[in-house]
Symmetry: C3
Subunit: 349 residues, 3 copies
């Protein structure tokens, strides 16, 4: 292999405290938003209409929070997870500022933990990645941990250093959109008459609809974010691999599930935080994604009478409608479950 | 099913005179236009070039008329046709003002007719839907009628009320673009030297080219318009249904046929009105669409020496070239016909 | 066939010295760039970030050079190659000015050579095509030659007139971006620490990654450029043809190879010229593209201490990784080779 191609980092290349500024800064445009809207059935009104967005205090419609996440995340792949065996989890993900078309997004990661596995062949790397816009404002901050191969198995194991992470983001730490006021939102235009106060802890919602993912679609989305993970794009190599097929980027399933939640959570147009996320099983081209959600918690927000927060757990399945709310078992998950996502949304009151 | 998901309206939920403001207002961008141009072989010069558009009096290139139609139409689906058995027809569709990137489009429908079917299980709902931009200017107005299931078959039938609809829109009622002048259009740049006066009533044009529709493509287009009709997206459910496959949105076939007409009608870059439209047979991923047109009528336009109108009937087929002009039979249609569209276009003289 | 559809030009329709202004001028938008970025794994930082582009002297991020090429090329198809049997080659292609979203691009071709083949059924047409923006500035200029069918084989052969073409564009003739200065480029953000001086003549780079092309993807790209070549879109006709399938537009493979070169040539974000290009074998939906490059030459550029030029030969293959650098044989090419491209890139020093 040429020394000029990117070999990615191996487990022994990471050190706690190390800071990795990632390539490539990316200017996000209304074109990116359109491609995203063609790939996911997005209908949240705040992101759909500049007029509605201006009416509640934004300069224009912000981009979907998960689209911002994918751009920030995509940049970390060449440095963090090119040699990853598995993406193990997310925690403490906070959406800090809206992203608008025209913004240029960069990502920097800091290694915050390392733990070699007992097999001596792999280790877990914990990074906090922060996305910023062209003014240096942080737009997104999250922790993820991945299992990465060692390049040289004889390298001695580092001192284990596992960061302590919150199981849920505290609503007091939410970065709420300033100078906004959602109290006058027209529910006829948003597509749902159900506001924050209408949801109760323990309530379950089957989002009903199913959407099939095509190979062209998940590759287009994943390329748009400049995510270079090889397993999504190369049928020649993957055809000889474990699954015999390309894997769908896990974030694609998150966006699809998020879009499906519109049917039942139509006013949940902002994500405040992601507490935890688990890709329970792989998805492939041709799979049809369904989703259901449970309300885990509700929270008022300091100084805001116009919005409140809902903590949701959204489960996505493939080729299985969610009529029976398939979820976690004592060990493992019900047949068909592919995603288990725990997050906070903001909703008008 | 959660009470918070959208069950759609059933036949008995509609009343004549009822007004339905639809979610979701949508700001249209040059990104939407680019996605559309990647899915349909659009070449009409007015929509292709800001410079050409400015030269004839527009502020910039307007979006394709059918793209505007799809956005206006898409919003009506959750309220009008989520429980539809069939989309029966269109009438009296007029394009009232150009739509530009940056415009935010909303749709309101009014129920103008109801007729229960004799089986007591379904009924026909007639609605007039009107699309407006952010200034309240109407951009598009049309009638469609759909067969909708009853939710509760014991609900008594309403008094039948069938609106009287024109078989063709009168050219005197066309909303012509003001302050435009098409007389200086450069035919080398538009791609066709044939102007309004070159077309004769009865003339038939085989548009020659065929374009295959992929599953990813029709889903991307239909999602872009926020059309939520379930049959286009869910292979898991449709695989067990009548056709064993996802259905292509009928409007996709209209746009494809419209794009194909460029080859023979290259200067017909504006649609003034749609008189009638019929989706003769369903289309599926993998089908190749062909089209031919007949000139049904020609009309001069009051006070305009720069443009005239042609009434066209465009027939689209699948997997059958239109060399023999397949069309309507005494009963039904020739093999392969999927669309029968009667409309008025504007063309420079 | 209606006289109003475009029959294309046949060999006998061309005359040396003939000038063909092509339809359709096209305003390029950030939406087009987004669709392109969703179809090819583009990561070159200059095109990715408005901020980076401004930092080196541009008004904003220019579009990818190959995207500009495809728009300029696409317009020539209806007039030059609708009746082509084969696209034989490119030469003397120079990128003359950056193209930005908002620019409107037109193309004019001039016939510069003709030579009938000895079979009397076809002939070779040489054209120089020039793309210009809305101010009349030339953005791109290239020669290609195609084998075109005769419409009437009894037409006498023209006097053979074969233009003399350079085998390589002279770096002294490059149109370098004025008022730019690449010396301060941040290699952490560009994704590669290798600059002009790090590459040596004879060096070979296997770009490692492979990307599979889906039918929807190549059709979307090719439609975006308004390229009307029939063989890319019509499965009904092509299914009965020589290959039994749609052909992927050769330019799609060039863009894919170009995007793959990022891994090893991450700072080669500008193409100065294409010396020669050959589509060695056809590509189809489902093929996985790989690429490798050899440095053929290096050149300093007059008056520029911030950038230098590399002459590259990039070979693309299908369904064959480039570990062994498959290339040209004494006769023909190694198994799997689909593209042989000789071009100059600019790179910071």
């Amino acid at each position: 292999m040429s020394e000029k191609t990117n070999p990615g980092n191996f487990f022994e290349d990471f050190n706690v405290g190390q800071v990795l500024p990632h390539a490539t800064p990316r200017t996000i445009t209304s074109g990116d938003v359109a491609v995203y809207n063609s790939l996911f059935p997005m209908r949240f009104v705040l992101q759909s209409s500049d007029e509605i967005a201006r009416g509640v205090g934004y300069e224009r419609a912000p981009i979907d929070d998960m689209l911002a996440f994918h751009f920030v995340f995509g940049k970390t792949v060449p440095d963090i997870s090119l040699n990853a065996v598995a993406n193990l989890g997310y925690a403490d993900c906070r959406f800090l500022a809206p992203v608008f078309p025209g913004d240029t997004i960069s990502t920097v990661s800091k290694v915050i933990g390392l733990k070699e596995n007992s097999n001596g062949k792999t280790g877990v790397v914990y990074v906090r990645s922060t996305g910023s816009n062209q003014t240096g404002t942080h737009v997104l901050d999250y922790v993820r941990w991945v299992m990465v191969r060692k390049g040289d198995e004889s390298t001695p194991a580092p001192e284990p250093d596992v960061p302590s992470l919150p199981t849920s983001v505290d609503p007091k730490s939410f970065a709420l959109p300033p100078s906004t006021n959602f109290s006058g939102l027209d529910c006829a235009l948003s597509g749902s008459s159900h506001l924050w106060g209408d949801y109760a802890v323990g309530e379950k919602i089957n989002h009903v609809d199913g959407v099939t993912i095509e190979e062209a679609e998940h590759m287009m989305a994943t390329r748009l974010y400049q995510n270079t993970s090889k397993v999504h794009f190369n049928q020649f190599a993957e055809g000889q691999g474990r699954f015999g097929r390309r894997l769908v980027y896990g974030g694609h399933v998150i966006s699809m599930a998020r879009a499906l939640t519109f049917n039942g959570l139509g006013n949940a147009f902002l994500i405040a935080a992601i507490n935890a996320g688990r890709h329970v099983a792989p998805c492939f081209g041709g799979d049809t994604i369904f989703a259901w959600s449970e309300v885990l918690d509700v929270a008022e927000l300091d100084g805001r009478s116009d919005i409140g927060a809902l903590r949701l757990r959204t489960i996505a399945t493939k080729d299985r409608p969610c009529t029976e709310y398939p979820g976690a078992l004592e060990k493992g998950y019900d047949e068909g479950v592919v995603l288990d996502l725990d997050y906070w949304v903001l909703m008008p009151r």
